[in-house]
């Protein structure tokens, strides 16, 4: 396949990975689409214990994006390992397990309980803005990001990718700290912390006050942060934030990402997303690009 890329020691048939929180465990989309057209899936964010998620309104549209406040609703690592993983493990896709937590110990225990699952990449979520104990505190300061990455590195042999928050001052420093802590790769950006007020009711829309903004609105921010991160580290980067077509994928690769994740765009036009690998191939032919690796970080 023309669009294949090497990511760490893995081969992805194309650089498109479904972003965590937007694709469940792939089962719902698999009822309607050939999900194996994708390069990989980052599964719905897990935590050690099951979570019911946030009460109240969970989604709110903005002119070029959407805010969500799902609050990490998930069945917990044990239910994933016991019930879900056996159902989904044989797909011809790179499997990414996204794990959030509230304390260092909940992360480490979660990883231990998932250890027997033969998934490809552990995506350490230290960037969820929607729950107080969602781990974002770990990801907004270089020292704590390094500390948790190192502790996780010592706990697992899995390929370790750390998912960063955009809600920070210097993304390069945080990324460098994760690299120093032993991360194999970096993914970014998680949603941007945002807010909405309903002027009719004169109330804040979300019970949790702030929510995470995703979609096209954040794409230029994400692109800038991927670029800054690529200048700061020498481990592979997975870029995400408002990507919805092949041209935008190419932009992220040129900024320094080795692969991308797509999320919100699955809600707006899933048919188009499954077309991206074909569009990438057409672009490569037109531009005379033999391998997508040629364009990674060229700007």
């Amino acid at each position: 396949m023309k669009t294949k890329i090497k990511f760490l020691d893995l081969e992805l048939k194309n650089p498109i990975i479904a972003a965590s929180g937007t694709f469940g465990f792939g089962e719902e989309y698999a009822e309607h689409y050939d999900i194996e057209k994708l390069g990989g899936i980052s599964y719905k964010g897990l935590t050690l214990d099951p979570r019911d998620g946030n009460d109240g309104i969970r989604v709110w549209e903005t002119p070029a994006g959407m805010m969500n406040s799902v609050g990490l609703e998930n069945p917990g690592v044990d239910a994933f390992a016991r019930k879900i993983w056996p159902r989904i493990q044989d797909r011809n896709l790179i499997s990414v397990v996204n794990l959030g937590g509230s304390t260092l110990e909940t992360y480490l225990e979660g990883i231990r309980r998932l250890e027997h699952c033969d998934y490809d990449i552990l995506e350490l979520n230290i960037s969820c803005p929607n729950v107080k104990a969602g781990g974002m505190a770990f990801g907004t300061e270089a020292k704590s990001a390094e500390r948790i990455t190192r502790a996780v590195r010592m706990t697992t042999q899995k390929r370790l990718m750390v998912k960063l928050s955009p809600n920070v001052g210097n993304i390069g420093e945080i990324a460098k700290a994760c690299q120093a802590g032993g991360a194999d790769a970096i993914s970014l950006i998680n949603t941007v912390q945002a807010m909405a007020i309903d002027t009719k009711s004169r109330e804040i829309v979300f019970n949790n006050t702030y929510a995470g903004l995703s979609g096209p609105a954040i794409r230029p921010i994400a692109l800038r942060m991927v670029h800054q991160t690529a200048k700061a580290v020498n481990i592979p980067i997975v870029g995400m934030g408002g990507i919805s077509n092949a041209d935008e994928v190419i932009q992220f690769l040129m900024a320094g990402a080795s692969a991308v994740q797509i999320g919100t765009a699955f809600f707006t036009n899933p048919d188009q997303i499954f077309q991206i690998p074909t569009e990438l191939e057409m672009w490569m032919e037109k531009e005379g690009v033999q391998s997508l690796e040629e364009i990674i970080g060229i700007v």
Binding site: G21, T22, F23, G24, E28, Y29, E31, H32, Y33, D34, K44, D52, G53, I57, R58, V59, W60, E61, T62, P63, A64, G65, M66, N68, V70, E73, G215, P216, T264, F266, F267, T268, N269, P270, D271, F274
Partner: protein, 244 residues
């Protein structure tokens, strides 16, 4: 291939009440009563499709009734005959097949999905009573009258007033939550099953994103996939006294 993410042609569109639009779209998809589609007639913004329930359907076409409440529905309302729009769906479980003498009771825009449901049940030979509440003005009166064995309209009052629910074997309801809660309570007291159709903000429509989660007696459920129709007592259960 995708979820019937087909472009449908607008066959007819008209305003049938104040900001209430009746839209008919050509499609080869075939829904069940109580299901919905995500409709989209724009490229970039708004971001998400609009979940609209099925008012009616027949070979090659699906009808919707929606209220203009924001940018998305405004754009949909301005469509002209032969314009194209994207339909994703049909999604959701729809109303169950219930037996006996059935009451369908709705309020506001919640009346719309009951039309298709009543028609299907009536066509199967069941006795179907439609009881519909409108805030100010009845819309699509003729269509509602034809859909059921008996149709009763209530304008500006409580649709549950004077209702003898014990006449029925099952009740299906869609509308404002306080109305549905009252109906579930009455059905519970009468010892008959009730089914409610829940409305929530949605994104993916197929159960992946969890933004439309609703709380039920048996834990969190996805409104778009496990619903939008639930057993009434699954949803209105918080205070057992309410329905006992």
């Amino acid at each position: 291939m995708g979820v019937d993410g087909t472009a449908g042609n607008v066959l007819s569109i008209q305003e049938v009440g104040e900001a209430i639009v009746h839209l008919t779209v050509a499609t080869e998809t075939r829904p069940n009563p109580g299901q919905f589609y995500l409709l989209r007639a724009w490229q970039e913004a708004p971001l998400l499709g609009r979940p609209i329930s099925v008012f009616d359907y027949s070979e090659g076409k699906v009808e919707f009734v929606f209220k203009i409440v924001g940018k998305g529905t405004e754009i949909l309302a301005k469509l002209k005959v032969n314009d194209k729009l994207q339909l994703q769906g049909p999604f959701g479980n729809g109303f169950p097949e219930v037996e006996g003498k059935i009451l369908l009771i709705g309020g506001g825009l919640g009346n719309a999905p009951l039309h298709a449901t009543a028609k299907v049940l009536k066509a199967k030979g069941q006795e179907v009573d439609l009881r519909l509440g409108f805030a100010e003005k009845i819309y699509l009166e003729k269509e509602f009258n034809q859909a059921a064995t008996n149709t009763q309209f209530v304008v500006g009052g409580l649709v549950t007033n004077g209702l003898n629910i014990r006449d029925y074997d099952a009740v299906l309801t869609c509308g404002p939550h306080p109305m549905m809660e009252a109906v579930v309570k009455m059905a519970h007291q009468a010892g008959i099953p009730s089914y409610v159709s829940i409305e929530k903000r949605m994104a993916c429509g197929i159960g992946a994103c969890l933004v439309c989660t609703c709380k039920t007696k048996s834990g969190n459920k996805k409104t778009c996939k496990d619903g939008p129709v639930f057993e009434g007592e699954e949803i209105f259960y918080e205070d057992e006294d309410k329905i006992s």
